[in-house]
Symmetry: C2
Subunit: 114 residues, 2 copies
DNA sequence: TAAACTTACTTTGCCTTTCGAGGCATGTCA
DNA sequence: TGACATGCCTCGAAAGGCAAAGTAAGTTTA
């Protein structure tokens, strides 16, 4: 029984990139991130909690984020910030995005027929 | 039994966009498209046949592409070209891509801390 | 004060897209 | 003859992303 190994889809990991980038700017908690993504992208991108929280947990697990709990108004918030490892990951993802974006752009800008 | 309806992932449909855009430039066949994507994107994006062919079939099925078979060197090539319907779809996808891209860009350009 | 909404975190289960790999057939080059 | 390129097609799996719902506590409103 051999395990079939597939690469992740070439456009994936953008939510991760966005989360890392926002957290590099400023420490935030999950629910805040959900709203920040909508606001900063002018509603162009809306990531629900079903996306954000799993991403946060994954990034924390692999050492890209560190978390600290903080009680505010009787509620608990989990604030995340980017570790040095996370900064490396952010740099790498940003570079990949740049390549992909430029690739797509060069297709879109290719001269049209008609 | 209720059917759960999920939206497509927000970044999806890029292969479709690329295929439509390349075919709007010039009639092509599947195998040629596989290589064209790699070349035009300078290897940044590599879509295999397992991606390209299903996309072509889907686009043909919904009227975005028309196909004509042509025998060359004893082999059969299926050339695809973009229909008016396909042009509309291309315009729509290009617009969506623009919005998403700008959204991501505005996150990436947000001022950094540190 | 009850209803309704917001904040805040978490998880489940599904669906779609994408992916690698393989199969088939012909042609060319060494 | 073997290896490699052309050209088409499809299967099975993985992962990523998604809506929805559950929990719980605070706030607003009627």
């Amino acid at each position: 029984m051999t395990i079939r190994q597939t690469n992740p889809p070439f456009m994936s990991g953008v939510p991760e990139l966005l989360v890392l980038r926002l957290l590099a700017r400023q420490e935030m908690y999950g629910y805040e991130l959900v709203k920040a993504v909508r606001v900063v992208t002018s509603e162009a991108i809306r990531l629900g909690e079903g996306v954000i929280y799993p991403v946060l947990h994954g990034l924390e697990r692999n050492g890209s984020l560190s978390a600290r709990r903080k009680a505010v108004n009787g509620r608990t918030r989990v604030y995340y910030s980017v570790t040095p490892t996370g900064q490396q990951r952010l740099d790498r993802l940003a570079g990949e995005w740049e390549r992909i974006k430029n690739g797509i752009q060069s297709v879109l800008e290719s001269p049209q027929n008609a």
